[in-house]
Structures are given as structure tokens and as C-alpha cells.
Subunit: 229 residues, 2 copies
Amino acid sequence: MQPTPSSASGPSPMPAVPTVGIIRVLTSDDPTAIAEHGRLLERHYGFPTFSRCIPGQPYGIHDQESERCAEPKIVALAREMAAEGADTIIISCAADPALERTREAVDVPVLGAGAAAAAVSLGLGTRIGVLGITDEAPPGVRAVLGDRFTGAVRPREVRRTTDLRAPHGAPAVLEAAARLVESGADTLLLACTGLTTIGIRPRLEDLLAVPVVDAVLAAGLMASYTRTR
Amino acid sequence: MQPTPSSASGPSPMPAVPTVGIIRVLTSDDPTAIAEHGRLLERHYGFPTFSRCIPGQPYGIHDQESERCAEPKIVALAREMAAEGADTIIISCAADPALERTREAVDVPVLGAGAAAAAVSLGLGTRIGVLGITDEAPPGVRAVLGDRFTGAVRPREVRRTTDLRAPHGAPAVLEAAARLVESGADTLLLACTGLTTIGIRPRLEDLLAVPVVDAVLAAGLMASYTRTR
């Protein structure tokens, strides 16, 4: 049986080669949308992926309540995907929801997009600015950054990942990122995977001339480390 | 003019394509030895490299005095390599000697093997054990790991990077690594690039079933992030 990279909806065949399972926390019934982060990682890193989303969260994770609600769904989905042959699981959300619980629940490496982005940021710079959809940096990101965290900003009128796709989304992100760099950040961490979806990293790097760490790409980078020797 | 990947000694031609400059802190007059880390990165990540070593340190960096002595040499070498066309500099030493000073001295990204290894470790695990050639973890590694540092060990009878190549080197490393995992580490960080030179990572992962972060590969991973968009 051939693997089905980025298969995204319904019961999909069990992967026949080592494959990275991508958990999306934004509910969708569009297989293309669900598979979007997985396809990005396939293009960047060359490993096959398959993607699923948790049910019942059309606005994703954007506050404590939506995060608490998502956690058991993520653990259950990770168990399913590991049973179906995922050899690595990526939780594609910068809040790292259920990261520790999922690591305990399955026997394969589990990567959180937020923790991975924080990690990559520490490798690249010293004063890390965090750009997300909440006023505070995600706690998991903050914990990894320690005293190298320099500040967090939220783009104006952006409160949920879906707001990033509105007409005002991208300009608000550029403005917020510039504020972080002006306040001394030497590296930017994109703390919402909706920023991956709108593909903003190259524009930010061109505009601001600092490394910009995309959380989905950072998780993929970590996955690529565990997959080569 | 064609680039000369891993050119290692004497005046080498200026790279004609974007190339990663590798600074070795172990002095050698053997071009093959000097180019060893660079060639490993070329195989793993596919980017071209060229390598140089600092003068006058046949035992590398193994204590505060040898580190202080190396720092100005590293800054000077980084300036030379950037002028010759390096678009990224890797300081291939887990002590991250002169990392901040070198970042200030040149206009290209500068990666330290220790900081990169600490960063990758934080992406992969929660309780990081550090295996190196000093009793304490390198301060730069320790700073990045924060409260996720679980302990440091030094293999018995190993005090300098060159000791790792002696007959007792590899067995002592395996024994020390097992102690770290027994004491609760879920991820191991190899805090001496001499451990890269002896190629010990696959054996450790097979033996101990935890992710093992090689510092040279971690720096290469970070370089590969900055080089793709």
C-alpha cells in the first residue's frame, strides 16, 4: 500500500512509510485547508505527512477555555494517528496544547509548534520578540525563552487565528512586528500558526532584516532532526 | 569561479555561492581533519561549507584559560571568513566561545554549536542531560536550558576533546550517558564537538532510546533554517 501524504479527511489508509502526523487545532471540513501545514513541511523538509483536525473548534485555540476544551481531543487524535502509523506527531499550535499529556500518551516523539519555535529562536538570537494573537506570549513559549524573552505584541484587531486572514490582518502583523524590533528584539517568534497559513515570514524578514521563526517550520525542523542520523 | 566546499587550509578562493563558514577551535595542519565538521553538515543539510581553524590550540578549548585565549582569534577568523563570502558563520565549539562578540563583529548570522544544541534539546525534550568534557555544563548551554537542565556528566578520564579519541573514550561516553538517563534525562545534549568527531550519536540513541542532540548537527540545523524560506 502506498502512503497518502497529507490525507486530510475521513478514514485514510495507514501510512506505509514513516510519516509525520500533523494535528490541526482549527476545525475544518476542507481537506486542502487541513493539509496545508503538512504540505508546507513536505515541501521544506521532504518527509511525508498526514493531517487531521480536532472536532468542534471552528475558531481554533484563542483563550484558556478554547485551549482546555481542545486538550482531550488532541490526546485522543494523537493516539489514533500513532496507531495508524505516525512515527512523529506535531501539534500544530503555538500554545502547545496538551503537549506534556500527549507525550505521556504515545510512544513516538511529540513536537509542539510553540516549544519548537521558542527553541529555534534561542538558537538564532538573544532578544526574542513574540508576535501572536494574545496579549501575553503562550506560557509554553515563555517558559522555554526564559530571560531571553523581550516582549509580546498582538496585531491590532486580531484576536483569533481566523482574523489574520481578514483584509486588515497582514498589515496589522507587519506593524506589530516593527514595534517589536524597534523595542529591541533581534529575532521574532510567530506565536500563532495562522501566521504560517498567511505565509508572512518572508515579508517580515525582508522588511525588518531579523530572523523570523515560523512555528510550523520550526516544528518541522525539529522533526527533521529526529529523522536523520 | 566555482566554490570550494570544505576548503580547509591556506588561502582558499572566495566562495562564489552562499556558503557556511565553519570555525574550528582545535588547531590542526590536516585539511581533512579541519574540514570534518563542514563535510558532515554538507552531507546532512546539503549546503556548501568552508572550514578554518584558529592557530595555536592543539588541545582545543577545555578550560577558562584556553577559552579566553581563543576568543580574539575566533572574532578575527570570523571577520576574515565573512569578508571571503561566508553568509553564515558556525563556531563549532559547544562552549560558544566569543559568540556574542562575533555576532557584533560581523554582519552575517553567527551560530554557536552549544547554543544551537541547547535550543534543539528544548524543542525535543523536557529534562535535558548534558554530556561534555567539563564537570559543569558550558555556561552558554546552561543559560539557554534554564530550569530544563537536569545535570551534567563528564566521561571518566576525559578532560580534553582529544581524549575522546583514545581507546577508553567511546566506552566512557556510553557509560556516562547511561548515568544521565538513569538520573531522569529524557534528552541528551552532547556538549563537546569532539563527540561529533567520534560519531557517537547513533550508538547512544540505539543504546538509550532517547533523542541525542549533536552540537555540530544542531548548528547546521539552525543554519538550514535561516537558508530556506
